[in-house]
């Protein structure tokens, strides 16, 4: 009869909305095998399991990180992928409905980590490599040398010799760094990952004679001995950029953007800002470390030129200074400007690149695939006569040696990798890095979790992984009749496109399968 509020009063009126966000995974514990050691309860840093008098009980929140599976002495645990319970709908997928429900509950920006998991399809998987037959002999890397040394730095495009044979041009004074393979470990900051993780990555880089990125969190003084293998990042937050930092490095990289979040600054949740991170980043304990979106001293290309010049001066021109940009639609022109502004190398980060924390809407919907970005930049710089002046590094979703080889053939001098290094150390790509409770001790600062990763074992595993990739690179080069990796850089003639959209091949300057040389 009466109007007004007809809502039924409940104690927690919104719980019903939360309850429709279903679990995606569930640990299934075989009661016959379980020895009730409770190890899994301890190992699960997401708090998904508990001891319930007579057995292990699942509380919810499993991310399928496999830690309990890997550590169960009785091998009693499997992770079950639960089917969706929503009424089927091709457009309003489970993912879409869950996001809406979560945001209606929290009112916040959804965060996620790792590279985007959207099913865009990998262009790498649509590219096929060439091999030598008859008219040129393939080369057997087990019996003959196949060289993979790669240099990072600026080049002059010309050698000027005096009449008595000495080099007189600036090519002798340009700083340049040699790596023993065309691969570097990308920027993963201390903060996003643990001390032990960064130590393992740097040790692996040293073992492999390659470079590793510092990320934007500065460099802990314990890591100064790795100076010859570090590319120090200068990001918009300037975290940890000190005189020591710029002195103890092999190269400096200005981070303008990151593939996983183009146009967005770095984001380290306060939960991860422990005493260690607070001291190396020089920020208060427990505060979110939010880098400004742009550099507030770079509002245009000439400002970038000034920062490059300032960093070259501060490092006394001893090390190359480069610029990292996220792959975006106009990346060719941007890269050209960056070269003209004086960068010694350019790092392109593709839109599937990883992140320790990013707004999901940016991660999933902004940027450009690295395959296209690399080819477009290589073509643009070649057309402008600039390509032989700089080193081009490409990263963001390079998952395998095949991807590394393809990105080099598309135009990169160096492939930059991150996620594969973390997988080598136990990461299962559960995309929960931003929560800071990584059960494998990688993307966490909690001391009990950090101690789970033995840096020596981590370093050995990463070293083995990339040694294997380099051997596979040599196999492929040999099969192509190429005995030095520089002869593959931008050699798009040796690729063919075998995918659904030939327009992509055209944009990249790659022929379609079935098209020969002539």
């Amino acid at each position: 009869m009466s109007g007004g509020d007809q809502t039924a009063k409940r104690k927690d009126p919104e719980s019903i909305y939360r309850n429709v966000i279903h679990e995606k995974f569930k640990p299934s514990i075989d009661r016959n095998l379980c020895i009730k050691c409770k190890r899994c309860v301890k190992e699960c840093s997401f708090g998904a399991l508990e001891w319930d008098d007579d057995g292990i009980r699942y509380k919810g929140n499993c991310v399928a990180c496999q830690r309990c599976v890997a550590t169960c002495p009785a091998k009693a645990i499997d992770i079950v992928h639960l089917p969706t319970q929503y009424p089927p709908h091709a457009s309003y997928t489970e993912r879409v409905r869950q996001a809406i429900t979560a945001q209606a509950t929290s009112g916040g920006v959804l965060l996620s980590s790792c590279g985007t998991d959207m099913p865009y399809g990998m262009i790498f998987d649509d590219l096929i490599l060439d091999s030598a037959q008859v008219t040129n002999p393939s080369i057997d890397p087990l019996r003959e040398e196949v060289e993979t040394r790669t240099y990072v730095g600026r080049r002059t495009g010309k050698i000027t010799l005096s009449s008595d044979g000495y080099i007189t041009g600036s090519e002798v004074t340009n700083p340049i760094v040699a790596m023993e393979m065309p691969l570097m470990i990308g920027h993963i900051s201390l903060g996003a990952v643990s001390y032990n993780t960064q130590l393992a990555l740097l040790q692996a880089a040293k073992n492999l004679h390659i470079l590793a990125g510092s990320g934007e969190g500065g460099l802990h003084s314990d890591f100064f001995p790795f100076a010859e293998n570090v590319i120090s990042e200068v990001a918009s937050g300037r975290f940890g950029v000190t005189a020591d930092y710029l002195q103890r490095t092999a190269a400096v990289e200005i981070k303008i953007g990151q593939g996983a979040k183009p146009g967005v600054g770095g984001h380290l949740p306060g939960e991860k800002v422990t005493e260690l991170i607070s001291s190396s980043r020089r920020i208060p304990l427990g505060t979110d470390a939010l880098s400004p979106y742009p550099h507030h001293d770079i509002y245009s290309i000439e400002d970038l030129q000034q920062l490059i010049a300032a960093l070259k001066e501060s490092t006394e021109h001893r090390v190359p200074v480069g610029v990292k940009i996220a792959a975006v639609h106009n990346v060719g022109a941007i890269a050209s400007g960056v070269v003209r502004a004086g960068a010694d190398f350019i790092t392109l980060d593709g839109f599937r690149g990883g992140t320790g924390s990013s707004p999901r809407v940016i991660r999933d919907h902004a940027g450009l695939p690295i395959e296209v970005a690399t080819a477009v930049v290589d073509k643009r710089l070649t057309a402008e006569g600039l390509r032989n002046r700089i080193t081009l590094i490409a990263g963001g979703s390079i998952r395998s040696s095949a991807d590394m080889i393809k990105v080099i053939a598309l135009g990169a001098d160096v492939a930059s990798v991150c996620t594969s290094a973390l997988i080598a150390m136990g990461c299962q790509v559960c995309q929960s890095c931003h929560r800071g409770v990584c059960a494998w001790g990688i993307t966490t600062q909690r001391p009990d979790l950090v101690s789970r990763l033995d840096p020596a074992i981590g370093a050995a595993r990463v070293t083995r992984l990339y040694t294997a990739w380099n051997e596979e690179l040599k196999e492929v080069l040999g099969a192509m009749g190429i005995d030095a990796v520089e002869s593959l850089v931008g050699n798009r003639d040796r690729l063919r496109y075998f995918g659904p959209n030939p327009k992509i091949a055209e944009v990249m300057g790659v022929k379609h399968v079935g098209e020969g040389w002539g």
Binding site: Y166, G481, D483
Partner: protein, 409 residues
């Protein structure tokens, strides 16, 4: 019966397969890149004496396993009388009268034609059409002419512009050679047919380079046959460059426009870029094209090592990967023969010297030397190391020296 065959049966076997089509100056439709195996032979008289065309013809045609009738050619250096040797000798293939008129207009806008005329050719019955007409112009570019006046270029740069301009814009016209005191004679046919077609016996030259072709998948094309030439450079090439896509970028970045679609064209431009424009000694340029391994570079003395590392960094796009042996000729400042193989030596190359020390040879097979001089001394060079012989100076490198010998003073 044709030259080079012992009996008719053998000849017939080779003609058994269906023939690929043949093209003159005009680029074959759809052709994007050419490759194949080949035979090469070159000889130089370092005292400036004249070598008859019959000598080089014998050298090349004896290597008959190395060709299949889809292209052969010769370049001659030091063949013109005094009054013409200081003018650029520009030789063209024309498919028709229109293309010749257009090319002549193009030339007249940019300089002075001192003398013109058709290059003498004979009809060889076994050859099949088309037969592009071959024209020779002794030409002086005018850097102050209306087409060049704003660019402030040297005469050489004007010639490069003219060659790339005509090849790129006038259909049915292709510049075959454009150097001083040198000329290229090439076409679609067996080596002995081309020699007869141009009646090479009428020429005497201080240096000859030659090439016969065994293409794997491309049609015959007169303009695409070797030697490939720009200015006084000419290059004969046996090989397949697996780094073509990379090398091509370097020459394009330096302003060259590719029109012949062969890796040899890129090799020619690389020599022009490194030696003429970047002023590098030929052995340094050779190292850029076929560098030693880092493991070898580490064992060098310090200044050689620094130079070697710098070359590998700066000129990594010049590195010719894959199998090749090449003959490179130039006429300025002196007539020079450069011969080298790739750094693994995946294609054959042999050097020779005449008994009296006046002639040097560089060939794919020893038979090519022995057929003209039974008693000649022969040797092989190191992988990637050039043999260099020059008129007036003799043998400057045997191809067995350390890479930078002669560079440091």
């Amino acid at each position: 019966m044709r030259k080079g065959y012992d009996n008719e049966d053998e000849f017939d076997r080779r003609e058994d397969l269906p023939l690929l089509p043949s093209f003159g100056a005009q680029r074959p439709p759809g052709l994007q890149y050419m490759m194949g195996g080949c035979g090469i032979a070159g000889t130089i008289d370092v005292n400036g004496g004249k070598i008859p065309g019959s000598t080089i013809t014998s050298m090349l045609t004896t290597m008959r396993e190395r060709e299949n009738g889809l292209g052969a050619g010769y370049s001659a250096y030091g063949l013109f009388p005094k009054e013409y040797k200081d003018h650029y000798c520009m030789q063209f293939f024309f498919d028709d009268e229109d293309s010749r008129i257009a090319a002549e207009e193009y030339l007249k806008d940019r300089g002075e034609i001192v003398r013109e005329g058709s290059v003498p050719t004979k009809r060889v019955r076994s050859m099949r059409p088309p037969f592009p007409s071959v024209w020779r112009y002794f030409f002086d570019p005018q850097p102050r002419s209306k087409m060049f006046v704003l660019r402030d270029q040297t005469p050489d740069e004007c010639i490069v512009d003219i060659v790339l301009g005509i090849n790129g814009t006038i259909p049915g016209a292709m510049c075959v050679s454009s150097g001083k005191d040198m000329a290229v004679f090439k076409g679609n046919g067996y080596s002995y047919e081309i020699a007869e077609h141009y009646d090479l016996e009428r020429y005497q030259a201080s240096m000859w380079l030659s090439h016969s072709r065994f293409p794997t998948n491309s049609p015959g094309w007169w303009a695409g046959a070797h030697p490939i030439s720009l200015l006084d450079w000419s290059v004969c090439h046996n090989g397949e460059i697996t780094s073509y896509g990379v090398n091509r970028k370097l020459v394009e970045m330096n302003g060259y426009r590719l029109s012949l679609l062969t890796d040899t064209e890129v090799v020619t431009y690389l020599w022009d870029l490194l030696v003429r424009r970047h002023n590098l000694p030929p052995q340094v340029a050779a190292f850029a094209l076929a560098p030693q391994y880092y493991s070898q570079i580490e064992r060098m003395d310090e200044r050689s090592r620094k130079l070697a590392e710098q070359i590998r960094m700066t000129y990594k796009e010049a590195f010719l990967n894959g199998p090749f042996s090449i003959l490179v000729g130039r006429s300025r400042p002196d007539i020079t023969l450069i011969a080298m193989a790739d750094r693994k030596k995946l294609r054959p190359l042999l050097f020779g010297r005449s008994m009296d020390g006046s002639r040097y040879y560089a060939v794919s097979e020893e038979s090519a030397v022995r057929v003209v001089e039974e008693q000649a001394t022969t040797w092989v060079g190191n992988p990637g190391s050039p043999m260099i012989a020059q008129v007036g100076k003799g043998l400057m490198r045997k191809g067995t020296e350390a890479p930078f010998e002669g560079v440091f003073r």
